[in-house]
Symmetry: none
Subunit: 275 residues, 2 copies
DNA sequence: CAAAATACGTAACATACGATACAGCGCTCG
DNA sequence: CGAGCGCTGTATCGTATGTTACGTATTTTG
């Protein structure tokens, strides 16, 4: 049963030629407002010609463009009349195969943040924003991209941010640059990597402050860490999910940026002018 | 301060003549959809003539009727973009500073998946699981870690997965290895990178199938993409959030793994023994 | 109560919008 | 490699839509 136009589109998008598919994609991306504008606006937004738009709506089964618009409006009207139906629809209305994973991820996010106090996040953010020391980031096999993501953002708002990458021997040698005022952010989830544990231990001995992102079973690095963020990772999939850790990372990035606002604004302007 | 047109109306409805007041009342009653229809429909619904409708919108301060409609659409767009404000949910029950970002992220996830059909995901997963061709992944400044994350997983369950990294000239030269049977996964959100667009264009010309992860405003690469995944990125932070795209990526990773289950299990055992 | 001013609708007009015919192009298949 | 098909954009056309002028009705004021 197809109830909404959005479903109708995603149902037939596979059978569409390239141009109409582009129209479909822009409509889905800006659903449904682009469809309420004129054919000309819709077409330029999609980067196709107006006849293609008309062929697109014809393929959806509408006789005229206005008829298509009316359908969209009716749908919108139904949505606006009962806002409750929108909020309370998590019981997977589409019942598809992806929903379980989405539901699990949403739960993971909520659970993760429930066990995470504002104060803890504020403390970590303050530590990361402290510009007297350097910040190093590193991750494991699957989590190093998270370290990379975080480093990319932090490096913009403050100096002395380093993502440790490449060969183990290379980043291990960087230990020599680390001291008491420095922060080491480590991402490590199962199966925990020995190399990272050893690295963390040595860093700890040198007085480096360690911020650990790990799963709920806690990497052995937690022994040495000053701050531990335990994210839920269980999802109905062959792999663990790092989504919760990802969102915590984004939260911290936001907090650090806000904290450095005054300085970072100036810094960002400087960076812009360097382009 | 008057922010919405509805407020503007209730502000001035007292100074309006009878006919225009009827127009105002029917608009409020069916807000805002009546205003998006034609003047004729609006007028018959209100029981007045079309010039009265036009005088009504003129009194609200709009030069033309289309201008009035655009304003309504913009308002609707703002509402639909941030479901948090629309739903009457208690503004962060625990009142923490992190909650807004978490709430926004949860909304983004839900919205993103709402516009994503199971079929579309299944199509993409099938394409990625097709082992007759190679799979290349690349991302922009902030999204390359996502490409990296996805590549790390996909490379385990199947051969011929390559994360394009390093210098632009290096990965651009890899175009020579790409053909019709290959898939190129690109992550690109604002501000879209020219280099990626050019890369996508040439790849497209060579017949490479492009799977694009982008934001709701669609990277120009959408022109060349076979499949487009539009994720919500808006959060109350200085940065855009890639969390929605991250979860979609995890979903696809899971789907591909399930699809290749039989083969990948053997492959994973082999990998284990190589350690 | 009368006269003027305001409000409203009918009807004619112009514009801009959707629809269509046609030609060029790329792609597929023999 | 060539012929055929299908997709796409340009240019044109008809029409629905917003707009305006004007006359009538209604209310307001002296």
């Amino acid at each position: 049963m197809i109830s909404s136009i959005a479903e109708l589109i995603s149902d037939r998008i596979g059978t569409m030629p390239a141009g109409e598919r582009r129209a479909a994609q822009t409509l889905i991306a800006n659903y449904p407002l682009i469809g309420l504008k004129t054919v000309a606006e819709f077409s330029t937004a999609s980067g196709v010609s107006s006849p293609t738009i008309l062929r697109f709506v014809a393929r959806l089964g509408f006789q005229h463009y206005p008829e298509f618009q009316s359908a969209l409006q009716d749908e919108l009207a139904a949505q606006l009349q009962s806002p409750a139906s929108r909020t309370l629809n998590p019981p997977s209305p589409n019942g598809g195969a992806v929903s379980p994973l989405l539901e699990a991820t949403l739960d993971n996010l909520r659970e993760t943040f429930k066990h995470l106090s504002d104060k803890q996040l504020a403390d970590i953010a303050a530590r990361l924003a402290d510009r007297r020391g350097k910040t190093f980031l590193i991750g494991g096999r699957f989590t190093d991209p998270l370290a990379c993501y975080m480093a990319a953002h932090l490096a913009i708002v403050q100096p002395n941010v380093f993502h440790l990458t490449g060969q183990e021997s290379v980043w291990r040698d960087r230990l020599i640059d680390m001291g008491k005022r420095d922060v080491l952010v480590i991402f490590d989830i199962r199966r925990y990597q020995d190399s990272l544990v050893r690295f963390a231990e040595t860093a700890h001995q040198r007085g480096v402050q360690i911020v650990l992102f790990t799963d709920q079973w806690l990497s052995p690095i937690a022994r040495f860490a000053r701050h531990v963020i335990a994210g839920r990772t269980a999802v109905p999939s062959a792999w663990d999910s790092s989504a919760a850790l990802f969102v915590v990372a984004e939260t911290l990035i936001g907090a650090v940026t806000r904290q450095l606002e005054a300085d970072s604004a100036k810094r960002i302007r400087e960076l812009e002018s360097l382009r």
